[in-house]
Assembly symmetry: D4
Homo-oligomer: 248 residues x 8
Amino acid sequence: MDDMYIKKLLEDVKAGNIDINEATQQLKKLPYDDMGFAKIDNHRKLRKGYGEVIYCAGKTPEQNAQIFEKMLQTNSAVLGTRADEAIYEAVKARVSDAIYHEKARAITVERGEKAPLVGNIVIATGGTSDIPVAEEAAVTAEFLGNHVERLYDVGVAGIHRLLMNTDKLMDANVIIAIAGMEGALASVVAGLAACPVIAVPTSVGYGANFGGLSALLTMINSCASGIGVVNIDNGFGAGFLASMINRK
Amino acid sequence: MDDMYIKKLLEDVKAGNIDINEATQQLKKLPYDDMGFAKIDNHRKLRKGYGEVIYCAGKTPEQNAQIFEKMLQTNSAVLGTRADEAIYEAVKARVSDAIYHEKARAITVERGEKAPLVGNIVIATGGTSDIPVAEEAAVTAEFLGNHVERLYDVGVAGIHRLLMNTDKLMDANVIIAIAGMEGALASVVAGLAACPVIAVPTSVGYGANFGGLSALLTMINSCASGIGVVNIDNGFGAGFLASMINRK
Amino acid sequence: MDDMYIKKLLEDVKAGNIDINEATQQLKKLPYDDMGFAKIDNHRKLRKGYGEVIYCAGKTPEQNAQIFEKMLQTNSAVLGTRADEAIYEAVKARVSDAIYHEKARAITVERGEKAPLVGNIVIATGGTSDIPVAEEAAVTAEFLGNHVERLYDVGVAGIHRLLMNTDKLMDANVIIAIAGMEGALASVVAGLAACPVIAVPTSVGYGANFGGLSALLTMINSCASGIGVVNIDNGFGAGFLASMINRK
Amino acid sequence: MDDMYIKKLLEDVKAGNIDINEATQQLKKLPYDDMGFAKIDNHRKLRKGYGEVIYCAGKTPEQNAQIFEKMLQTNSAVLGTRADEAIYEAVKARVSDAIYHEKARAITVERGEKAPLVGNIVIATGGTSDIPVAEEAAVTAEFLGNHVERLYDVGVAGIHRLLMNTDKLMDANVIIAIAGMEGALASVVAGLAACPVIAVPTSVGYGANFGGLSALLTMINSCASGIGVVNIDNGFGAGFLASMINRK
Amino acid sequence: MDDMYIKKLLEDVKAGNIDINEATQQLKKLPYDDMGFAKIDNHRKLRKGYGEVIYCAGKTPEQNAQIFEKMLQTNSAVLGTRADEAIYEAVKARVSDAIYHEKARAITVERGEKAPLVGNIVIATGGTSDIPVAEEAAVTAEFLGNHVERLYDVGVAGIHRLLMNTDKLMDANVIIAIAGMEGALASVVAGLAACPVIAVPTSVGYGANFGGLSALLTMINSCASGIGVVNIDNGFGAGFLASMINRK
Amino acid sequence: MDDMYIKKLLEDVKAGNIDINEATQQLKKLPYDDMGFAKIDNHRKLRKGYGEVIYCAGKTPEQNAQIFEKMLQTNSAVLGTRADEAIYEAVKARVSDAIYHEKARAITVERGEKAPLVGNIVIATGGTSDIPVAEEAAVTAEFLGNHVERLYDVGVAGIHRLLMNTDKLMDANVIIAIAGMEGALASVVAGLAACPVIAVPTSVGYGANFGGLSALLTMINSCASGIGVVNIDNGFGAGFLASMINRK
Amino acid sequence: MDDMYIKKLLEDVKAGNIDINEATQQLKKLPYDDMGFAKIDNHRKLRKGYGEVIYCAGKTPEQNAQIFEKMLQTNSAVLGTRADEAIYEAVKARVSDAIYHEKARAITVERGEKAPLVGNIVIATGGTSDIPVAEEAAVTAEFLGNHVERLYDVGVAGIHRLLMNTDKLMDANVIIAIAGMEGALASVVAGLAACPVIAVPTSVGYGANFGGLSALLTMINSCASGIGVVNIDNGFGAGFLASMINRK
Amino acid sequence: MDDMYIKKLLEDVKAGNIDINEATQQLKKLPYDDMGFAKIDNHRKLRKGYGEVIYCAGKTPEQNAQIFEKMLQTNSAVLGTRADEAIYEAVKARVSDAIYHEKARAITVERGEKAPLVGNIVIATGGTSDIPVAEEAAVTAEFLGNHVERLYDVGVAGIHRLLMNTDKLMDANVIIAIAGMEGALASVVAGLAACPVIAVPTSVGYGANFGGLSALLTMINSCASGIGVVNIDNGFGAGFLASMINRK
């Protein structure tokens, strides 16, 4: 999979520097750290250009803290998402420079000098209640080196609030449109904008929103072109994908 | 239920004009025509201000034709919805002045002089494929005496087509917003307009639209106020409800 | 969008009273108050005839209190829905004349003299457990200036309770029919009444009611004509739409 | 399972009339005719009081014809449901006295003198389109020896049509309420009647009726007591259950 | 609706004993107690043979207590279902002879001499976790005067536990089959028994049981005949319907 | 992935028999035949012990015929599933010894001497309509070298038909239980048998079976242990998995 | 059902050692312990090769403790699943050698000498959050005498972690693949392995995972062959089925 | 919305070249061609960089032909999707240089010299049956000027077919991953690749795939990062979004 790695190994084999059985083993393994309850994917940075991000929910505070500590041995920056206060406390006890982003429920550790943020990602929300998801997207995108413009509470019930900001939409490299209830924001934004739109349905709403299903279906069925949809409330996924596009 | 009917009967009882057993029977019955396979609700006009409308689907062409003939004995105008060509042929064989509205899949018979159409119902569609549903609504509303303004193919993917017609929306007494796919049209219209909006999801679309469910959920969860939703593809229901509101 | 606004601006341009760049900016903006986490839509009153209503759920008590305070600078009356006691306490600390409607979970502030309530909206419920939704509708409709008649616990399991009140249904300009479980009330009411019926499914029930889905499907599929449906438990939406129709 | 059968066998064993190995085999088998593609349950009549009924759909015409022929060797009356014309033709070729009930899509063969029909089962439908399901129920119930009263097209959109027939509902031993669309008929009937109500949702309707799911959920969630629900369009199941109750 | 009531009134009218306006009013009203938040259906006993039963959930403890008190003015026995301890405490404070059935979550008040329990209703459950639903059915059926036989934990995973009790199934007038998870019990019981089976799906299980939907679908689709299904966890509904059938 | 393959290559590298660039390429490729529209997985036989099976649906008759021809160049036996008559005709034109299994909708080609069928797989169905799915499973299992015992039409509505065959269930190495409607057969079989049970829901049924969803949910939620479920109507998958278990 | 049992009884009948009535009773009963709220299936061990396992959820701690105590009178080993700490405390009070497996939420009691663990079951998880389900499977399989190899956190987002362990997959007799979110692990594992794969969807994830439905559908629809699926989060069922296959 | 357009107009107003009423009208309108049944959005090219694409399904052949003809008056290239042969025939009769892409069900007209295709979009499918969707994506992307690399039939059941093509994935600017059944391809591709992945679920499969819902849920819930999902079978949407990203 990694040509140079394989070639180097084969040259060692040819030169007799390495035993055939040993080389066979190595060809069958790529490096990952095995912590028993988790296998940290050290190879991801080579492969995808970013280190592994920790999805903190469903792991104990202590497990999360150990993973942070382990990853910081080989990474200068680590991001954890879906982290509550208890997880942050456990991480902070081991990693004193960890920062908690309360609205985004995210933990970041960034060491060394940070490069200037580049490009332009616009993050728009339908309402005030969508802000936690938007902040998860924003913190993720900023962590990955992108400039972010926040445009909150511009839902279609008062569409002039969005139309008044058309120039901001036009200046974006990529737009993240976040909305709950009926999620119509994504279609209207994609109808106006000239760049890719990442749509994030949220679970905001009640009744027949079925935990975000209504907004998800709206966005998936959009009559406007240029929209890719991520999971309900998945601010991280949107920020990550937006970064991939913006940083091209 | 109908005071005068009851009072008249009681006066006849008091005057001895009617036998008590007979009056008891009458008090227990209100008039409907029993055709065996159907009970025509002659009382509906008194009760709701309109005669019964025939939902033709699921009845044989001959059954529909008989019902038309029967109803025209006591009504000067009859509407049939969801009628295909075969049904129209059967009706026309018995009722020579029946008119077929092909796009709307509706049959109308209107005898005597028609009163001028009143008020203003705007019918907007997201796309061209929604027109059959829109025409069912339009034919229904016109049959019931309302002036109708058609505004087709103004979906949110090119939102200026709708914004350019804001004055039409502002002149309406009631708006029918018809859309398939993600159905965002209803929210945008209701955000702009000052009158009640009747939202009609359509089955237009494919994939995760699930036969119109996506548009239905969008409309039911709308963040805009002043929207009432009818069944998927139910142009008749929308036209009927719009007429009730417009004719007030 | 607002002809006079545009004409006045153009006259100023023609007269040289305003710079072209400035006018261009103004033509691209309509007024809203930007509070960072929320954009208050001051224009809505002009557009829809009512000011913005605050959906309190999903916002912090303090955010809600600030929005109330801000809106009262330009409005003499403000309504907040889905407000719990904690939100009310925060609002009251800033707005001492705020009133809490406990059953309706609503907050109202009304300053100056209130015009007499007009028209006639009948609000019927299937059972006692539907009353919170009904009260949200009633408080909304009364806040918007409508006379409301409450008709609670008239579900179809004992249909004479509803039939005994047929005259009240006949006197209504618009009826709000609220029911959970199987939600059959809306069909029966619409079968009896001569005015528009707004149907509100509620989440009351258990088992296969799926949080109100059963009642929603019932109402959307009603065999009776003249029904518009709003979201599950959406008393506010029903009250708002009823007001639009009643005040015509 | 059948005490006398077992006792008789044991007495034969004791008397040495039957070999132990043979008796063991017999105790492990109850009689059914094995036709390879079908195992006809001859024992059902003993167990349930009725012979096996043939569900014709999903079997070839020839398979159905063979099963009819086989069953008539040991039964004087056989019923087949969900049979189209092609199936009837194949059956008639082998069983010349087979009768086809077109509306009910059922085939009956009844030999010998038929006992008088007993009791009183009322079958009510919401509309004309529900009649095929109603006829399947009626033919089934009559085949099983019950008197049936048909009350078609009494849906709640014109509720007086039902109320006018309250005395019929009061005379029933059991009522079968059949309705599509929103299926509210079952609740209203059960609210009025004093006997068990079997509710049959039908697939009649369109849009959000989802092939009968809406009516099914309505009936399962009914606020009225005394209702048992069968599958969508399952007229046979309703007729069978009604017969069990009526013939007590 | 009640012939004698109407005839008596008409005779009074004829005799001049009653004013026509007054009689008109009476003909339009049947008695119910209006408590504002509830309309107690006094007529139900005449109509359905049983008094109204209180569904306690969704009402406040105090509302429930008031309804119990009110109903006991005209009834000698009252049943409340879905009652938690807090509701029972409130009822007991007003009605000292109220009895709480903990497993069934039901409250009964029975005054005067109780008639002997009649007939035979067998209540079978698939597992131990289904017992609360079974007890709600049992308490309801016993309250309504029926003899009940409990047969708990006879699910199909160890089918001989059920087969060993075939004679009990054979002795029943009606069987209530209660099961969660896949709910196969109802089909097997109906395949064995000769009487009507009322199937109650329960929410017992996890994962893809979707709160009882899996068992509901199983029971609705049963290949065995003679089954009527009630709502998920609806022990009361099953006990009520079983009583109607058993007491014939 | 294949140790010997890699070791041999490395030995060639060491011996200088192969160029390093070439070896690098080979290490990055495993053999498959690329036909443009399909990539035939020649490696599967090494990996899984069976050759690739052709899922014929969704491919044109000609595409299927070409794939058969291609695969027979390197395989002595090929199986195609979900094949209609048209596909079979196209295959037969190129592969004259292809055999069509009509009930199973499968095509087999088997060249050379066939080894005796081993072990014992019992395939049980709830009804006659499930036979096409059962035959797909049977043909698959026999193609893969397994002895199959067919036990059709033993559904739980007449459970003695199944109980009478308990010894067959006891003799099986693995049982495939196939049923539509409510799918209870799998639970009962697994409750009786001592071997693994593969459950196949079928789309047989109507109404609330939702194309097999009801049977799928039943089988997934089974209260009996030892059941693995495959997709609706997936006879091939069941036969394949059964073969894996039986041939151990 | 058990030939020798029946033959022995018949021989006793023939020899006059047993009364015919008594023998009839015995033939109709197989042994189970009736505890009122539960019927313990003592016969299961004979039938299925394993004793009954206690599903602790939905039973009170005291009920669970009594069942453990009862079963240990006739079994040397008992397993309880879905047991929280409170249940364990109650069991331990009666059964002092009960052991609690916290991650697996399981209780085991094993008396006498344990046979060596045999065969090889590989349990793979997609992530760290799936470990509780995996441990339930592992504890179950080990309790039933199988050797288990754990392979956790090898999800497809970093697929080399799985590919590096291909040899472990190749050494397995059966693999349990456990994953939430999109559940793709099962397809990839089955594509690589040569043995049966038991797929366990988990409820891990958020948004449109709908409590595990997404992973369940993925696994049921897998394009890879040789997969049987169990219920969401059903570690026990997977461990049990794997044991059946592994111990062949 | 378009600054220069507005400024120019204002300058004309200032210079008196245009009447104020007229300018007011123009400011309220942006150009679109109104064909009655369709409003062609001429402005889209300015706004989004591409002309309007015709979604042919749901429009009559003649309507489609007229729209093609109209659009070609102002565009040098037009694309129509979801076009069957009949539509193509109608278009060709009016536009003789229209080309039909049969596998993609698309019509293109391209006049003048075509610029060289740029960048690199890889389109991968799980199987052969997904090719029509893939071709719709490919034709769309090529029409919009992108270089496309096709990589068909690389599903995860034989994962080495995908792994062998890792270098192609690494060379892509954006990848479109298309799969039906369980749709696991998208996760595996996104786990391997370093660029954005657009996931397209298809309706390929049967049973519990529910018309593509299973693949949609898989892709939305993917554990891999960098994925945006479009509607089921929406090859056009994927090709369009990929073009937006690739052409940056």
